[in-house]
Every structure is written in C-alpha cells, then in structure tokens.
C-alpha cells in the first residue's frame, strides 16, 4: 500500500507501485483534471505539484510519491468559485481546446507562489515546459499576469 496526500487529503493506493502518478490520479482517485499529452515529459500537460514544485506526473511512478503531497488542478477553484488564476484564464482567453490548461494552471500557481517578480519574461520562462497548440501563448501569459495583479 502506498499513502500520499492529494489536494490536502490522505489517500492510499493498493496496486502496482510502478503505476504512473498520472494514471493513479485519474483512474484510482477519479481526478481526471490532469491530462496526458505526450507521455514523454515534453509537453507539461500532466503537470502537478509535488511538495509544491511542478513536475510531470507522466514520468513519476507512484512509489516515488509515497508520503509526499500532490496538488492537482482540482485543488484550485470550483465552477461557482474560480481561483484567481482560473478567473484570469477565463477573462483573457487563456484556454482554447483546454488540454494544456490544467498543466498551465499548476505551473503558473507554483510561479505565483515562488515570490519571483511576475512579469512577461518570468512567466514565459516559468511556463517554458508547458506547450500549447492553440493559443499562441500570448493570452496565457496575459492570463497569469492578470491573475497576479488581482488582490
């Protein structure tokens, strides 16, 4: 049995210890917000926070998450009460097809919490491991900066 904290709740997983974290989240914990794009560490769609740091959940066997804290996109807001970042993406058109969005939101969340000055350059650098086929990035960057400005 493997225990880990997911979005603040203790969870246990009974199953193959080499199952990928993304599959455990989606199939065992019914947290389907996290998406798989490439399955090769390139696209960042599967980004979750592991002890607060953005990581690709497609490259982590769940045994390496034992005893650690995982945050997924479900930890942000709910449809009736969006988080600042989610509201920023909605207001600025930061999401189109939406596949990259959960990963973008989680990487952006870590960036906003890092204490680094939030500006166009730092946001582009922070999000450089998150690929988007739709938006051309401009509106994603705008979304994050808008969210950071909201008190």
């Amino acid at each position: 049995m493997i225990t880990l904290t997911v979005n603040g709740r203790k969870q246990s997983f009974h199953g193959a210890p080499f199952k990928r974290l993304i599959d455990v989240l989606r199939e065992n914990f019914a947290l389907t917000g996290t998406k798989e794009g490439c399955g090769e560490g390139e696209c960042g769609a599967c980004t979750v926070l592991l002890d607060g740091e953005p990581v690709n959940s497609c490259l982590i066997p769940v045994c390496q998450a034992e005893g650690r804290a995982v945050e997924t996109v479900e930890s942000l807001g709910a449809p009736e009460k969006l988080s600042k970042l989610q509201a920023g993406f909605l207001a600025c058109g930061g999401a189109q097809c939406g596949i990259c969005t959960p990963g973008m939101l989680m990487t952006a969340r870590a960036h906003l919490k890092s204490g680094v000055r939030v500006d166009e350059t730092s946001v582009r650098e922070a999000l450089s491991g998150n690929l988007c086929r739709c938006t051309g990035y401009q509106d994603i960057v705008k979304s994050v900066i808008t969210a950071a400005k909201k008190k």
């Binding site: 080499f18 990928r20 090769e40 560490g41 980004t47 490259l59 066997p61 450089s128 491991g129």
Partner: protein
C-alpha cells in the same frame, strides 16, 4: 506495447549500503533516480518485466556539502537544487548555468546530476561544465568505493565505465582560483526543452603580462562523449590572446572534436557555430 506497471518489481533501498546490496542481488535491475530519462523509455514499453532499483530514498545522496577543498554534490541532487545553492552559484557558475538549461522547470525539479551522468547522452548539458571544473565522480559498488575523473566516466554514446553493480554516489568539484573569464553556452532549437546542437564551457586565467596561464575549454554534442580541447589549451598556455593565436587555437579544435550529421543538426553547422563560440570567448566577447 506501452509500459506495463504490473510487470515491474520495485526495490526501495533506504541507504547507500542497502542500495549496493540490493543491486548485487538483482544485477539486472534498472537504477532509478528522477526518472526523466528512464520513465520516457519505460512509457514507450522499453523496460517491461524488469526490476527497478528506486534510489530516491537514499537520503545521503540528496545533499550538497561544501568543504575547504570543494563541493560534494550527491548523485540525487536535482538540477533545481544545484541552481539554488549559494556556494555553487558563487564558485561554479558554469554548472549552475548549465543546469538552468536542462529541459524546463518540471525536468529540473526531478532530473538529477547522477542520472544525467549515468545516462551518458552525448548532449548531456552538465558535462562541459563538469569537464572544465575537473569534477570527479564517486562510485560505490560491491568492491567498495572508487573515484573516477569525469573524463573517464564516459565510454561512448549512452555508455559509461561503471562496472556491474556500481552506482554513482556523488560528484566532487574542487575549488578553482577565480578565472579571468568563464562562460557556458548552449545552442539548441529553442531555449527550453531542446537538446543541444552544441554546447561550450570555458575557463581562462590570464596573467599580468597578458599571457594565458591556463585555459580549460570543453564542448558537448561534438563527439560521442564530452571533450576538452587539449591541443588548443596547451597551444594557448603562455601566449597572448591576439587574433593570430586565437585563430590558431580555433584551427586546433578539430583535433579534439568530431561532430556528426544527425537529426538535430549537421556537422558543418556544429563546427561553424562552435568555432564562433570559442573565438568569441577567447576574444572576451561573450561573458
């Protein structure tokens, strides 16, 4: 077939001694650190049915320790940890700069220096910096510990000189006198998430008489393994950096590197860009 989790066995040693013992008992096991190389191959179905030696619980390999002689970086230290370390920032800025170019944040938060070395890609971004700092690799195995100079750890493309049952424990960086100039440059298709076409690390010490007292020059991605430019380095020693000596040093490059045409670039492009990087560094145009 994709990676099949049910086909895998996981061994989880909690100390270096346990890791060596478990590896001796399961010599076909795949050591696993941050998984940013291994899990990509596993996802593609390459390693089904194997045992995995998960090193991530070996706490003593996760730390960075500075002493009077230098800095000892545990093999499980991530590229992010290296960038954040104040002594490494101050004394080994080329390594810090190299780690900042590995993949992007998600990769740097997981990928380790030990994994980078053990993976032995010709394009491993930390290698030129480790080469000019003359790092040594601390290896542990059934026969005990040994120390391997960084240049001797690589045997070829994706091949190391690690013997069966051996694991990388740490990398030691001896302090160097502050150089006159030091530079790390990576050239890839885009800034993030791109594999290097060429990369350069250089340290140079110039005396009061304007003559070079020492030059350490290294390229990655221009040969199966990382290379020091031995011929150019010894040519430059004792000379002033004027256009003639710089040009002559650049001509000597090809006695130590031999790039190839591949999916990322051509031999010719690699040589021209690398030569330009070297010349700009020697002229003091890149800082």
């Amino acid at each position: 077939m994709r990676g099949d989790a049910k086909s895998m066995t996981v061994l989880s040693p909690r100390s270096a001694a346990e890791a060596v013992k478990a590896y001796a008992q399961a010599p076909a096991a795949l050591p696993l650190a941050g998984g940013t190389d291994l899990m990509v191959a596993w996802n593609l179905g390459q390693w089904n049915g194997r045992a995995v030696l998960d090193l991530s619980r070996v706490a003593e390999w996760r730390t960075i320790k500075a002493s009077a002689q230098g800095v000892l970086i545990g093999s499980l230290v991530t590229h992010s940890q290296i960038q954040a370390h104040p002594v490494l920032q101050k004394r080994f800025p080329l390594l810090v700069a190299a780690c900042a170019t590995v993949g992007a944040a998600q990769i740097q938060n997981r990928g380790t220096i030990g994994g980078n070395i053990a993976n032995a890609s010709p394009a491993g971004d930390t290698f030129p910096a480790l080469a000019v700092y003359e790092a040594t690799v601390r290896v542990i195995g059934p026969a005990g510990q040994r120390v391997v100079p960084i240049a001797d750890i690589f045997a070829g493309v994706k091949k190391t000189t690690l013997k069966p049952g051996e694991l990388i424990e740490a990398i030691f960086l001896p302090f160097v006198k502050t150089p006159t100039r030091g530079v790390f440059r990576k050239v890839g298709t885009r800034a993030a998430q791109a594999i290097s076409k060429t990369m350069f690390a250089g340290l140079i010490w110039i005396g009061k008489d304007k003559k070079v007292t020492e030059a350490r020059l290294s390229f990655g991605s221009l040969a199966p393994t990382v290379r020091r430019l031995h011929a150019a380095e010894s040519f430059l020693r004792g000379r002033q950096l004027d256009p003639i000596s710089i040009n002559a040093a650049a001509e000597l490059m090809t006695s130590d590197v031999s790039p190839i045409d591949d999916i990322r670039s051509t031999r010719e492009y690699r040589l021209i860009v690398s030569r330009n990087l070297l010349v700009a560094f020697l002229k003091g145009e890149v800082k």
